[in-house]
């Protein structure tokens, strides 16, 4: 049973650039949520995708956008990168279609903006 996978593992970008992070949910899951975790902090909710639509959004600017594909995988895009965007980006999957509340996290993508 494949768990949540994310790619790439690490990424270094320059201020002003754009980045795309990818996530494949746990087998059988239909919902993907993205979180940003700064060093020494707890994860903060960015947004959630279900049925290929953004369903919930946290307090993040429009520079953060996403997409969900028909196979339930998802991408997180961040435009005009700032130094403050350096963080661990976590993807979590869940099964909303059956009213499940457990979220299962991937290993994360560590983004460094220089």
């Amino acid at each position: 049973d494949a768990g949540v996978t994310q790619s790439p593992t690490h990424l270094i970008k320059t201020r002003g650039q754009q980045v795309t992070l990818r996530c494949s949910p746990k087998s059988g899951h239909d919902t993907v949520s993205w979180y940003q975790q700064a060093l020494g902090q707890g994860p903060q909710f960015i947004f959630q995708y279900y049925e290929e639509e953004e369903r919930q959004r946290g307090n993040f600017p429009d520079r953060f956008s996403g997409h969900q594909f028909p196979n339930y995988s998802s991408e997180l895009n961040v435009n005009a990168l700032l130094l403050g965007d350096s963080a661990l980006y976590l993807c979590a999957s869940s099964l909303k279609g059956q009213g499940s509340y457990e979220q299962y996290f991937g290993p994360g993508t560590r983004l460094t903006v220089t």
């Binding site: 949520s33 060093l39 707890g42 099964l95 994360g108 560590r110």
Partner: protein
């Protein structure tokens, strides 16, 4: 913003001892979940307790929930060096029965278990 507040921020104990971590939150919840994170890697789901439950067990883990005080505790019994990690509580404020909408995390408790 982060809703949960874990206490203590850091905890150091000896192998075999019990570890207790507390979490307080501010708004109403559908459920509360505890996660473990090793060295800045992905989070591992430990246990979920629903708002109408008061106590739940899973192996060496015991979680309590007091919705009147908006607080929860995680007890790890007979701790092992492998339990060394950061532990986070996450509240799920979802108002519908249609599955989780989002999780709101605290800053976590860093647990060190010394061999």
């Amino acid at each position: 913003s982060q809703q949960g507040e874990e206490d203590p921020q850091a905890l150091s104990i000896q192998e075999g001892e019990n570890a207790t971590m507390n979490c307080s939150y501010k708004t109403s919840i559908n459920n509360l979940q505890w996660y473990r994170q090793n060295s800045g890697r992905g989070l591992v789901h430990l246990i979920l307790i629903r708002s109408n439950e008061r106590e739940k067990h899973s192996g060496r883990l015991r979680v309590t929930l007091d919705t009147s005080k908006k607080s929860s505790s995680l007890l790890i019994t007979a701790s092992r060096a492998a339990d060394t990690a950061s532990y986070f509580c996450a509240t799920d404020p979802s108002q519908t029965q249609g599955g989780s909408e989002k999780l709101v995390f605290g800053k976590g408790t860093k647990l060190t278990v010394n061999p």
